[in-house]
Amino acid sequence: MIDINRYQSMAKLSLSESERARISDHADILVKSFDELEKINVDNASPLISVLNESNILREDIPRKFTTREELLSYAPEQSDGYFQVPKTID
């Protein structure tokens, strides 16, 4: 059984009792299925991070305009004086 309280706090979630019970049931099914992995030896394999064999394709680092500060801020739930607005974070 996984420690739902620990992971919900790390994932910045606050689950209701019913959600916690349902997630607990589903997580148990999934984690139990992961047991199959234990039987396989992967010592000689390297992790596959990207399926693309090509190396990174880089472009010249030339500055260009994406959009305006005003437009980006217009998507914010709350803004003030040209900044994103959040509650006080330091005393």
Binding site: I40, P47, E71
Partner: protein, 369 residues
């Protein structure tokens, strides 16, 4: 209309629908989540910019939140908007991101075709990210030839997507090649007798060879572990600060984050965030995430395409959706192109080597003559 989240009232030939995870500048986009309820797309997705005047966008289709379906038996599995819009002739095509195989299966179930292109050939710029190492825009269509014609328009390198092949364009043609089909017998035996018969009948048109898909028994686990890790990472951007939904119930920054995410995400996004966080924590990283990445290497290397051109798989092995996930993992984990369609009333999936889509089209045409 129950499949369109937004209906543009466009009719005629060559109309297409966009899954509501593909951006059109100035139009709302939700990716199926309350988290993006009032969000207006700031850009056009590259696939939208690449469409010629020949194609008209007719609407945005409803979708599972961030494309995450339920993997558990007994939970509702409604037909997707992108599929239903084509079934009902509202549009000729849908563009969507099929990470978990739901569109590939439903297309075949509904006598449509689904083209899942090689990873890195269609730009994801302007696509709401789900599982980045597997995200790939694909096409729902009625006729594979028409689907590939549309694919040739939207495929090709885009400097705005950092994970792409360098080819500027692709053409997909029947290459009249004598194809050899690889048959993973042990997997096909898991399907219904009718499906096995249909695959046997389909294979009569080709040379065949037997294939052992090593590690098939853990495909779904590897797929789930890697995708939930990537999704939990990608949806960490939704925090109520820069864009998207913000709770009205907070007194400090931690409550703003937590309550915005708790109120904004639905059940499957929450489950995925919890599972993704779990597999990425220090205690579990080696056991789950790192091991899954190593198995991904073994799975990819296990399909060499030496001595065969195409792997054939069923679209359904009849148990719960989590078991069926195994059938759709190979293309995503190895970045391979696939098509799914109905043959003699049964769903068939074909998978080819990287950038060998033309073999898939060729095989389909051989059997649909």
């Amino acid at each position: 209309m129950d499949y369109f989240i937004i209906d543009y009232n466009v009719e005629g030939q060559n109309t297409l629908a966009l899954e509501d995870s593909i951006m059109q500048k100035g139009r709302p986009i939700t990716a199926g989540s309350k988290m993006l309820d009032n969000f207006i797309a700031p850009i056009n997705a590259t696939v939208v910019d690449k469409l010629s005047n020949e194609y008209k966008i007719a609407g945005k289709t409803v979708m599972d939140e961030f494309g995450i379906p339920s993997f558990f038996s007994g939970e509702s599995d409604e037909i997707s908007g992108a599929i239903k819009a084509v079934v009902d002739n509202a549009v000729s095509f849908s563009l969507c991101n099929d990470v978990f195989g739901k569109y590939r299966k439903q297309a075949a179930d509904n006598k449509l075709c689904y083209i899942h292109p090689t990873y890195g050939t269609v730009s994801r710029y302007g696509l709401v990210p789900v599982a980045s190492s597997m995200d790939q825009i694909g096409i729902v269509c009625k006729d594979m030839r028409e689907g590939f014609k549309l694919l040739s328009l939207i495929a090709g390198n885009d400097e705005k997507d950092g994970a792409m092949f360098s080819e500027k364009s692709y053409s997909y043609d029947n290459n009249e090649q004598d194809l050899t089909l690889a048959i993973p017998d042990s997997v096909i035996r898991m399907a219904d007798k009718n499906v096995q018969d249909a695959i046997g009948d389909f294979a009569k048109n080709f040379k065949t060879t037997s294939l052992d898909l090593e590690h098939f028994n853990v495909y779904k686990q590897v797929m789930y572990i890697l995708s939930c890790a990537e999704i939990s990472n990608n949806i960490s951007r939704y925090d109520g600060v820069n864009f998207g939904y913000r709770t009205s119930n907070y007194t400090n920054i931690d409550e703003l984050y937590t309550n915005s995410r708790t109120e904004g995400f639905g059940y499957h996004a929450k489950l995925t965030a919890i599972m993704g966080t779990m597999v990425l924590t220090e205690n579990n990283y080696k056991t789950y995430y790192d091991k899954a990445m190593k198995l991904r290497r073994l799975i990819k290397d296990g399909v060499s395409f030496e001595g065969y051109d195409i792997i054939v798989l069923p679209c359904d092995i009849g148990k719960d959706p989590y078991d069926n996930l195994s059938l759709y993992s190979l293309a995503n984990l190895a970045g391979l192109p696939s098509v799914s369609f109905s043959y003699k009333g049964q769903g068939i999936q074909l998978i080819a080597n990287v950038r060998k889509e033309s073999s898939l089209l060729t095989a389909w045409e051989v059997c649909m003559k």
